[in-house]
């Protein structure tokens, strides 16, 4: 009864999230006195990761583009073939897409948004997960023997290990997909909200889209992704994909910098899983200060340019 963990790859290398996922799976397997097995797709020479000793590798040209139906049937077949008790998946858009499909096809349960190793509650194995978009936690147990765990980003951490995994190729029959991807547009080379360690976000306090160079310059010094509050995307100042919060994208990053955002409850719910929050706002009464770790009461148009300059100096010294 092993733990299978699906490690997402991109251009034949692990995605960043895979390191945390592998670390979690190894720890979960340790707790259950069993083995953790990695599963990679089109990553032919997987490197050591998170202490995994064993990796199943699937390679096929037609898997270069993610399509949900095919990936879901592949993962559920691998889950069944491995005889594992748990399948651990990430909280990427792709994994969230297929989680329910794999559960239905493999007859297992699915617990999403998990943030910790299981605990024993009332004699049952319970996984702590976020509910109500970070406004609460639930301890959830599976009634099925086999269960998919969706791990939240930045919830467990990465354990480095040099253990060289034994890699075994697996061939599975591929199903057709009724959905075809005809075009893909990604912002290349820029950090994304899903992946970045730091997110710089701004709200209506920035007055207009013409001032967004402040946000972009700050993000560039920090290697951060850019985000915004809901009204900013509704007004068309920024694309919808940057809208974060309860009805937008969740942000679980190490550092979240909020500029000219008031801190409405819907905004906070979506970003509260971030570790450290810095707020820059000219209104000392802005509700965001109650949710922040560090704050500067001041005008964004004078604070942010100074911050950018000082960070450049800091980065040069600490490079």
């Amino acid at each position: 009864m092993s733990v299978l963990v699906y490690l997402e790859s991109e251009n034949k290398a692990y995605k960043k999230s895979a390191y945390e996922l592998a670390s979690y799976a190894v720890a979960l397997a340790g707790q259950l006195n069993t083995e953790a097995i990695g599963l990679v797709i089109n990553n032919d020479t997987p490197e050591s990761i998170g202490g995994l000793n064993q990796i199943i590798s699937i390679s096929n040209e037609s898997l270069n583009t993610f399509t949900a139906e095919r990936y879901a049937s592949l993962l559920s077949a691998a889950f069944e073939k491995s005889g594992s008790q748990y399948l651990v998946i990430s909280s990427s858009a792709d994994s969230k897409y297929i989680g329910g499909m794999i559960a239905a096809q493999s007859g297992s349960s699915f617990i999403p948004n998990v943030i910790a190793l299981p605990e024993n509650i009332e004699g049952k194995t319970a996984f702590k997960r976020t509910v109500f978009t970070n406004k609460g936690f639930a301890y959830t147990s599976s009634k099925s023997d086999r269960c998919i765990i969706g791990l939240s980003k930045n919830s467990f951490g990465v354990h480095h290990s040099d253990a060289a995994p034994k890699v075994e190729a697996m061939t599975l029959e591929l199903t057709d997909d009724r959905v075809t991807v005809t075009n893909q547009a990604t912002v290349n080379g820029k950090a994304t909200i899903a992946d970045a360690d730091i997110v710089v976000s701004a709200g209506r306090g920035l007055k207009g889209p013409e001032n967004w160079h402040l946000v972009e310059d700050l993000a560039e010094v920090l290697g951060a992704a850019t985000a915004c509050s809901k009204p900013v995307s509704d007004l068309g100042w920024r694309p919808h994909s940057e809208h974060v919060g309860q009805t937008g994208k969740p942000v679980a990053t190490n550092l979240y910098i909020a500029i000219g955002i008031s801190g409405a409850i819907q905004h906070l719910a979506g970003i509260n899983a971030s570790k450290v929050k810095v707020v820059i706002n000219n209104d000392p009464e802005a509700p965001f200060f109650k949710a922040a770790d560090y704050g500067i009461v001041g005008d964004a148009f004078t604070v942010v340019p100074q911050l950018i300059e000082k960070l450049k100096v800091f980065k040069a010294q600490n490079a």
Binding site: G100, A103, P112, Y139, T180, T182, S241, L255, I296
Partner: protein
């Protein structure tokens, strides 16, 4: 074209979330329930298909009678008929089984769910229905047009978007972007009046089974005080982020 919109009732986004004293469930006192925002985007698009392409729009909710006000609201916005599966929605597996039966019974061309419900954030109901009913599935859907039995959609991916093509029957996980915020409809008097007489059928389910169980709930620990830094001392902020918070 026959469309089903699956609608869940969730606490209004401004709600403070509290749990009962025994930590076993949500404390619903003072909480106002609304149509799950992702489902509202989906419902609005469904009503657009009705107005532009003559679609029939059904809605379905799994829940006890307390969800009927939000179902009436969905009818007032423009749905034609409602189905309520009379059982508490204890988990996504039970909900998806109940909704799959409805989908099989009525053979919908298009099923619209939300990407997630903002209460328990299950992220699974549309995917489960897709597999149970063998429908094509497009999640995090930000655009959808239908021509005959061909569907063209856009979806949000991490760091971008993609365009997809498929054919009906199809199920989507709707989210913001599918319709513009300004297209969301506030029911008018005529809509509210006609919603009162639209059919709302109650279905008594059998043999539904939950696969997960929420044993207890808790609130996040309350936050410490914010450390305020003077505007003139930005170096101090950088120092704190570097040495204390260790995020730089």
């Amino acid at each position: 074209m026959k469309i089903l919109v699956c609608i869940s009732a969730v606490p209004d986004t401004t709600s403070k979330i509290n749990f009962t004293a025994d930590h076993k469930s949500l404390d619903t006192s003072g909480v106002q329930f609304v149509i799950n925002p992702n489902d509202e985007f989906g419902l609005t698009r469904a009503v657009w298909f009705k107005e532009q392409q003559g679609a029939k729009v059904h809605i379905a909710t799994v829940g006890d009678s307390s969800v009927e006000p939000i179902m009436r609201k969905a009818l007032a916005i423009g749905a034609d008929k409602a189905f309520r599966v009379d059982t508490p929605p204890t988990d996504g597996f039970l909900v998806a089984q109940a909704l799959s039966e409805q989908v099989k019974k009525e053979n919908y061309d298009l099923v619209i769910c939300g990407r997630e419900s903002i209460d328990y954030n299950g992220n699974m109901v549309p995917g489960l229905i897709a597999s149970h009913c063998d429908y094509s599935f497009i999640n995090t859907c930000t655009g959808l047009t239908i021509d005959g039995d061909k569907a063209t959609a856009t979806r949000e991916i991490d760091g971008g978007s993609e365009t997809l093509e498929t054919s009906l029957p199809l199920i989507i996980g709707a989210q913001k972007g599918l319709v513009e915020e300004s297209d969301l409809k506030i029911p008018n008097m005529r809509g509210i009046m006609s919603a009162r007489t639209k059919p709302l059928e109650v279905i008594t389910p059998s043999n539904l089974e939950a696969l997960t169980e929420d044993l207890s709930f808790e609130k996040p620990a309350s936050k410490g005080e914010v450390t305020l830094i003077e505007e003139a001392n930005i170096d101090q902020l950088i120092e704190l982020l570097h040495k204390e918070a260790k995020v730089l």
